[in-house]
Assembly symmetry: C2
Homo-oligomer: 443 residues x 2
């Protein structure tokens, strides 16, 4: 996280902000980071808008958790109704979890719909941790292949496959990285075959070290690598070499799932692959802590019989009500279509801005997940983390919230709730244009 | 879990139950277990009562998650109110998390209250996983000492220190077990010194293997070991040898915390120890997925600076509202006192039953966490898992829900919500008496 608040820089902040930061550092300790050079305080929200306690309004162009919008009445009502009725675990029979699991499984198509199982956790980290445990148990191997700046979670196991946590957070000795499919710099033609070749090389290295391949795990939006959404023919050749080596293909849909990418409900579907395990989280309950995996029966069979799995809150009555309501709203309000059309509008606007701002090297993305790579100049494509950091903070001053991503944090990460309307996109583009103009004056 | 439903035994179950089990096995797969030979279906709940869809009422004497009672209006209202206002993460400044963290920290006393930090996760597994990660980072060692049948979570790391998951679930090579403080069989006098000696022996073994000691982690109710709540002078001598070896003392309060044991809000306080880390979960939000740790600043300092920690849902606005409301209700309704007085009444009743039922070997427990060890005969103290399994299922037929625990599942685990009233305890004792009479006829 390149645009984190530096706690040594309290000077110049409003007294109330300073007070909250001091209380926070006392109560929560040194592991907690805040966004922005001037942290944002929030006290209420609605749709795509956040408000601080002075009544200032912020346009939320970053929150992928409250995906159907902050404080959506349907989710609130479903949780309220269920909390008044029953909230208990999966060791009693309940209909809600069965209804939701069946509905969810029907969205994947292929073998996952025909015979797959759903298992529920509370967080995406837990979902990935469980997926890896099952993959290692099923294959009898432990090697995991990831992309260069991957993030897959905060548990001990998932942190061990999350290089984006930084150099201090050690990767497992059984982890191998492949470069992200940087279509801005690499030739788009044959990129999938190139990627498959990279994976093949790492499989051989894992086998040479006696680890073997348990799984290749990938976020098909390549979120922390810098948001690479095109071309969409990358993962099929990769899945082929992974399966040929006896490994599993795990689609980490924690970021790219539930309609974020517009084209389809699941990011991996854009690549035409059939994963062995799909992991889900963040937007699944629109902020209610619910996550899970979908898995092929033959993959979970031996783990399920030998190990069992119980997650106290995972799949509880209220979590399932929140998840069902969220899935219903995505369908009922046509949010996939909205992500597609407003996303297209937003991307066109960014491409338009690129015409007048040479610091924009590349505009990419799909649906409401967009990346804008900032460069020092277009011919060398040398990255400009300075520009990205400047813009993220300048937009915050203009009360528009986004973040940055990629190896050196030089790509703007634009990822609003799926209910983002054309008017919000216009407001966003307008403020970004202003911030880019200010940036030009800085340089 | 010794009293799990055997999915091959569908015959004789009501058609609706059979249908749900088949749907469940199709949708959720083989890793999910159901309680009881005849699984219970639930569709609504209130206080300490659960209801199935035929309107049958069950007395819940087992649920330690909805600790302040099923569907408590204050928790429902707090979650509803917060969901209508704001639900977002910890990278913006919010007051709710600060208010709750400060309130929570004030309950521990000692150094944790004076200078400790709170960190929030969604599940007890995540809390223990984080505590272990920090302990390993802080000490630079990886050895962990646990009790023989410990359960500390379902993540890869915490499952590696959870022998109660069964023989198929491998422990880490850096894990060492000590026997549970079985005061029914071992001399009570000097039991703490004996335990400290066991820990010392394992520390030496860890050092011999080059692992060293990172932490000793313990549930002070010894829940999955069989519920050992007395004597209460066990853990102070243990903490001494742990600290002398440079290790951390982690109190896993996921089961024993938030007033369950009656004497004090936290189980470790009964032993007069000062843990370096306290982990919390299950009852923290009365069913809302919220968990966390409290930690000394010197222990988290280097981890916090080097590694940072972000949990998307952990500490979110609604989780904090649920947790605050739960803590308020525990205080406002005097639930610690209720656990103490009703727990005493229940324990006296169990001791009374022991007079007329020789199959009861031992009655133990504190507050509303009671264990009843079933034996084949009192002189040999040979355990009777048959009796425990019989009683758990016989009580289920009488619509009273409990479970069993311990090495071979021969101890009844009685653990009702903290709002259990004297009348509920009477009903429970009455049904247990009946089930014990039926057991006598079986043997």
């Amino acid at each position: 996280m390149n645009n984190a608040f530096d706690p040594s820089k309290l000077d110049g902040l409003p007294p109330a902000t300073k007070g909250r930061i001091k209380r926070r550092s006392r109560a929560l300790g040194p592991a907690y980071r805040l966004f922005y050079q001037q942290p944002v305080e929030v006290c209420r929200a609605q749709g795509v808008l956040l408000y601080d306690s002075d009544g200032n309004e912020y346009l939320d162009a970053y929150n992928n958790v409250v995906s159907v919008g902050h404080c959506h009445p349907k989710i609130i009502a479903a949780v309220h109704q269920q909390m008044q009725t029953l909230c208990t675990h999966t060791r009693y029979l309940q209909d809600g979890i069965l209804d939701y699991a069946e509905d969810l499984l029907s969205t994947f198509g292929g073998k996952l719909s025909a015979s797959g199982h759903a298992m529920f956790t509370c967080t995406g980290s837990e979902a990935n941790d469980l997926a890896l445990r099952i993959a290692m148990h099923h294959t009898g191997k432990r090697g995991i292949i990831i992309t260069h700046e991957a993030y897959h979670g905060n548990s001990h196991l998932t942190a061990s496959i999350s290089p984006s946590l930084g150099d201090n957070s050690p990767l497992g000795t059984w982890v191998r990285q492949i470069p992200a499919p940087d279509a801005y710099r690499l030739p788009k033609e044959g990129l999938g075959q190139w990627m498959a070749g990279q994976v093949q090389k790492q499989i051989q290295d894992l086998e040479r070290h006696g680890d073997g391949l348990a799984a290749f795990i990938v976020d098909s939006a390549f979120s922390s690598d810098g948001v690479y959404t095109h071309p969409t023919d990358l993962l099929a050749p990769v899945a082929e070499v992974v399966h040929a080596a006896g490994g599993l293909f795990i689609a980490d849909e924690v970021q790219s799932g539930f309609g974020r990418l517009g084209d389809s409900l699941w990011g991996y579907q854009r690549h035409g692959v059939a994963p062995d395990i799909v992991t889900m989280g963040k937007p699944m309950g629109n902020g209610f802590p619910v996550a899970g995996i979908a898995i092929l029966p033959e993959v979970v069979e031996s783990f399920g019989r030998a190990m069992r799995y119980f997650n106290t809150f995972g799949g509880n009555s209220v979590a399932m009500a929140a998840a069902q309501a969220t899935l219903n709203v995505i369908r009922d309000e046509g949010l996939l279509e909205n992500a597609q059309s407003v996303g297209r509008f937003l991307k066109d606007g960014l491409l338009e801005l690129a015409k007048s701002h040479a610091s924009i090297g590349d505009v990419r993305g799909s649906g409401l997940y967009l990346g804008v790579e900032m460069v020092q100049d277009r011919s060398s494509k040398q990255s400009s983390p300075f520009a990205a950091t400047y813009l993220v903070n300048a937009l915050r001053e203009r009360r528009v919230l986004i973040s940055a991503s990629g190896f050196d944090g030089n790509s703007l990460k634009i990822r609003p709730p799926l209910v983002f309307a054309k008017a919000h996109a216009e407001r966003f583009l307008n403020e970004l244009d202003g911030a880019l103009n200010d940036l030009n004056k800085q340089q």
